[in-house]
């Protein structure tokens, strides 16, 4: 009788242990799935962060290039007034008509640059310009995107 009781209790204990193991196994499986989901989400976040950093770097690079072209354009403008011993005042006294035409052409070009900077569409001629004689010398980088600067 006692042996039978011990056996029954033993079997019941074994069965309970197996149930516990099964339950633990199910919990571990669920945990594993959650962890994998978490890792996948983290990977996605990291990829997005990488993309964002690249976009930020690209934007900064673009802005720096733009600012360096500004500097170049201003230097070019300064050169046009003061290249060598050029004195625009004396030139205007000596060749009034010619300088007046140059000044007016330059003013028109400068005004066109402002229009383009404010978002105006490029004309066909501006886009096609590749030679120095065809460009807007006030802002070639803005007005003539296909022009490659040469000396």
């Amino acid at each position: 009788m006692l042996i039978t009781l011990v056996m029954v209790v033993g079997l019941a204990g074994g069965a309970a242990y197996i149930y516990k193991l099964k339950a633990d196994n199910a919990t571990l499986k669920a945990n594993q799935i959650e962890l994998e989901k978490g890792i996948a989400e983290q990977t996605k976040v990291l990829e997005q962060q990488k993309k964002d950093f690249e976009a930020i770097l690209e934007s900064n690079k673009k802005l720096n290039v733009l600012i360096s072209t500004f500097k170049k354009d201003l230097d070019e403008l300064d050169k046009r007034f003061n290249k060598g011993k050029r004195d625009i005042g004396k030139l205007a006294i000596d060749r009034t008509g010619a300088i007046e035409r140059i000044i007016n052409k330059g003013a028109d070009n400068a005004a066109r640059c402002v229009e383009l900077a404010s978002g105006a569409e490029h004309t066909e001629e501006e886009l096609k310009a590749t030679k120095k004689s065809e460009i807007n010398p006030e802002c070639p980088s803005l007005a003539n995107p296909n022009y490659v600067h040469y000396e």
Binding site: F70, E100, A111, V114, A120, E121
Partner: protein, 117 residues
């Protein structure tokens, strides 16, 4: 009598179980609604008026004013020295560059926040 009790017991069980079906549970779920895009129209591009510069020297001044009068324009000019004209040209270039820089920044912000969403 015993059978009657059994039937009553089963009937009560069915009745009580029926209570558990009762009202449907309210389900609360949340949907993430993305923020509406600003989508302001791009500012209109400038269309500037054309202006004409006149160079006056001590030699051509009379001729210039006479020409203005002949054309029915008030014989008055607002003057700049050659150095001031140079400064005006540089100021104009700087304003244009600032405009270009600001527009570029706006484009980049738009691209960054609207293309990554």
């Amino acid at each position: 009598m015993y059978t009657m009790n059994k039937i009553l017991l089963i009937a009560m069980m069915i009745l009580l179980a029926g209570c558990s079906v009762g009202e449907k549970r309210v389900k609360i779920f949340s949907l993430e609604e993305p923020r509406a895009k600003l989508n302001l129209p791009n500012p209109e591009a400038l269309d500037l008026e054309k202006i004409k510069w006149i160079i006056i020297t001590s030699e051509n001044a009379d001729e210039v004013f006479a020409k203005l009068e002949a054309e029915g324009i008030d014989p008055v000019l607002f003057g700049l020295t050659d150095k001031e004209f140079e400064l005006l040209a540089k100021n104009f270039a700087q304003i244009r560059q600032k405009l270009q820089e600001t527009n570029n920044l706006l484009e980049e912000y738009k691209k960054y926040y609207e293309e990554t969403e």
